[in-house]
């Protein structure tokens, strides 16, 4: 690659650079390559490929631009950055507390939904038993055997419903204890947070 070709390629790779930066870099390397040639040195061996050389110039110019205190787009981007940083700088306890509250609320809803389902199941089972017993009563005369089986089944269902209700009352207490413990743990966490700060 001749010196002219090298410089042309370098100029092409510097394409995105602002004109004054590009002119300054080109001026420097036009002179530099002249010295290299005059001293019998190989341009590519000394400076690397035009592309690599352009990249080192571009990245340095970009870093410098970012550090420069300037108005316009730059300061607006600064504003955006400061905004993002400000969000991250918020007391971490606040978003965490909101998240914890939502989770606790969800858990409480789930627990009561499950309990409500069990209550309904107990009620329906018991009701089915009662209906069964009454229905079986008519069968006692026409078909005593069937009546007896149906009555037994009805009584079984009533008993089963009562058992579920007992289970629900036990779970009810357990659920309240669980929620209580959950809330206590969160408030404890908050207290230790405050102690740390």
């Amino acid at each position: 690659m001749s010196r002219e070709e090298y410089l042309d390629a370098l100029r092409k790779h510097l394409g995105k650079l602002p004109t004054d930066e590009k002119d300054s870099a080109m001026q420097y390397y036009i002179e530099y390559t002249e010295e290299l040639v005059a001293n019998g040195e190989d341009i590519e061996e000394k400076l690397g490929s035009p592309k690599d050389l352009a990249n080192s110039i571009l990245s340095e110019a970009a870093i410098r631009k970012m550090e420069e205190p300037e108005k316009g787009i730059k300061s607006r981007m600064d504003g955006v950055w400061l905004g993002i940083l400000a969000i991250f700088a918020l007391p971490i306890g606040l978003p965490l507390a909101i998240a914890a509250a939502v989770i606790v609320f969800a858990i409480i809803i789930v627990i009561f939904a499950v309990l409500l389902c069990l209550v309904l199941a107990a009620f329906v089972t018991g009701l089915g038993g009662v209906v069964g017993v009454f229905a079986a009563f008519t069968a006692w005369f026409s078909a005593p055997m069937t009546g007896m089986v149906a009555t037994g089944a009805g009584i079984f269902l009533i008993g089963f419903g009562i058992l579920i209700m007992l289970l629900v009352t036990k779970l009810w207490g357990a659920a309240f204890r669980l929620i209580g413990r959950l809330l206590r743990r969160i408030t404890d966490r908050k207290r230790t947070d405050r102690e740390v700060h």
């Binding site: 870099a25 001026q27 420097y28 390397y29 002179e31 005059a38 001293n39 000394k46 400076l47 080192s56």
Partner: protein
């Protein structure tokens, strides 16, 4: 050289390389390369930055049938170099204490 030349130290080296006298890019590169192992393409961005920070100024001088852009220390550049020298002394002293085995309990 296995130790890296960070940006401040490189700046300091380039400023110091101009204390014997103003120089154009090629000669300045040779001066720095005579002491530390840097590639030919390292210096331009440094020179540009130092120039933008008003530590260096340039002037053109036609020589040997071509134009040479000379780099020269500004007063601010000299001040900065003095600061870099003080910083380097304390840094060097610290590293010498550690690496030179002069550290005592």
């Amino acid at each position: 050289m296995i130790y890296q030349l960070g940006a401040p130290l490189l700046d300091a080296c380039v400023l110091a390389a101009l204390t014997p006298g103003d120089a154009y890019g090629y000669v300045l590169t040779k001066r720095v390369q005579g002491v530390v192992d840097i590639s030919e393409s390292t210096l331009y961005p440094v020179l540009r930055r130092l120039q933008k920070d008003n530590l260096l100024l340039t002037y053109d001088q036609p020589e040997a049938g071509r134009n040479r852009r000379y780099y020269s220390l500004t007063d601010y550049g000299r001040e900065k170099l003095a600061y870099y020298r003080r910083e380097w002394e304390s840094y060097k002293k610290g590293i010498d204490t550690l690496l030179g085995g002069e550290m005592h309990e």
